[in-house]
Point group: C2
Chain length 357, copies 2
Amino acid sequence: MSRCHVSKTDAAHFIQQCMEAAGSNTAHAKALAEVLVEGDYRGHFSHGLNRLDMYVKDIQSGICSAQGEPLVEKETAATALVDGRNLLGPVVGNFCMDLAIQKAREAGIGWVVAKGSNHYGIAGFYSMQALKHGMIGMSFTNTSPLVVPTRAKECTLGTNPLSVAAPAANGDSFVLDMATSSVALGKVELYARNNEKVPYGWGCDHQGKVTENPEEVLDGGGLLSLGGSELTGGYKGYGLSMMVEIFCGILAGAAYSKNVRTWRVTDRVANLGQCFVAINPNCFAPGFETRVSDLLQIHRNLEPISGNDAVLVAGDPEKQHMDQCDAKGGIPYHINVVKHMNSVAQKLNVAALPMDV
Amino acid sequence: MSRCHVSKTDAAHFIQQCMEAAGSNTAHAKALAEVLVEGDYRGHFSHGLNRLDMYVKDIQSGICSAQGEPLVEKETAATALVDGRNLLGPVVGNFCMDLAIQKAREAGIGWVVAKGSNHYGIAGFYSMQALKHGMIGMSFTNTSPLVVPTRAKECTLGTNPLSVAAPAANGDSFVLDMATSSVALGKVELYARNNEKVPYGWGCDHQGKVTENPEEVLDGGGLLSLGGSELTGGYKGYGLSMMVEIFCGILAGAAYSKNVRTWRVTDRVANLGQCFVAINPNCFAPGFETRVSDLLQIHRNLEPISGNDAVLVAGDPEKQHMDQCDAKGGIPYHINVVKHMNSVAQKLNVAALPMDV
């Protein structure tokens, strides 16, 4: 595969320039750039630069608001309902997570729910903000319907991700950042392009039947919830996805379930629901970070099945990816992604990303 | 299978009598009886009467405390750390859930963590207590190590269940109550007794290799996390199990991970960690219960793959089981369970359960 390495600074600057050219104000453009670059840096390329054109289009068409600030509609010492006012997801997410952390400092926990939001990038970006304050962070979002519930044939739920981050000693951490579906749609698309079978349990066809043919998943079928078929526990993943929906669309009074707009169809306002939580470990037993470190070490030190594949904890694969980026001096983007984004930039009169291939 | 039907009242009375005879005070014995009967009534027979002898033994041996009350060690408007003082799990659980609900009434949310607890029966018993107050309830517990992490060979995590309950209109509800493993150990034992293969993804052998042979799972192997193998997303279930551990053992300063005592070995105090949460939907967008109802109906009304298996939502299988119990005038216990418990009762000089076979 042809890759070129782009520094985090260059990538962020490029995204910010494009968003500003599309009509975003500087602060909002910067917030989006930061989240997308972090997604790529952590190795979640499906939630980074390659989605820039979607955000540009949303701002240019006016489907997403380019100016303004989120608004607290209702609050208590430990909770808040925020109207995202149809701003970019990261603008809403940062606002809500800040508020949750502030509340957790006083009340021990902050549980903040947003309506009127948009795609916010990787869920982990927000949960991880709590780490800097020595707190546990959580973030949840509903998303466009791509997942078929257990026993059904129709997509009614999104990949509805959840993220939980917990600080360990010496800057180490646990960072779970996962879709509640078996896999992301992008992975199925990749298998389809390579003409490969997908593992049993990833998706189903238009009749709701589990299939190993990626084309059937993409053509009127859908993803399965974590756990796969009913026999292997797919109903649990389906329940978790519904839990995320309850914390997001339902609690916030935003769009929910099959009423969330279709993926990649930006004909109307998204009105996503999102949920942000901070928990202050100081309100519980002393020595939290030391125990988290011990829990992580217990697992990292386990003898692996195969010598080459060490036992990891949530967040470790991302740390490995970041180390690779640092060693190579940049994020290894696929050349086609850079080419495509440069064509987007050209239309906006923004200077192209350098390609070092 | 030979079943006999026992009314909820008779079953609860029987359990209470046995626990009192073993040395529990009346209130504690009653609390345990209520949880175990609710487990059976909801169809979770692995968490009901059939565990009575374990609780009796714990009280008789003094491994679990028979007298006293849980103690709040630390609190804020929205949080508390509770010392369960080694009392029966349901005594600790009820205390903590009451406190969480009380806090949620004032602060919008209550997040209560307990150390020094014991097995508390079904997680859903506690989350559902929030429903009566129109609130979302959650409950988590760590448990004895039975689950092998992704890429490892050794059990370091329990089946670490989580439960989330949310009220809908007219007494309807969403009740997710699930282990974060693919299945419960009891299911694997059942397959072993019947000489049947287990589905791929339920468990692994002592080398960490996924196996369909239930004997290999039980003999030095272990359960897999929700998602099964790494390829089908088992690392996500592993992450969820770790999340539960962080909310429970780690936050509470209780036993955690492989330091939790071995399943069925009651040679030392359990010191389980548990977590109880109540969230007041009135602090967020109005109309919560109506939206939950709509979400449930969207799913229940989906066209099923097969005509016989309607699409359900979390909590519906339990509702069906309770309806069956009501129609038959009691909980359908396996005759061997009743026989065994009657032999336990005989040693305690407690009158046997009637058997209507």
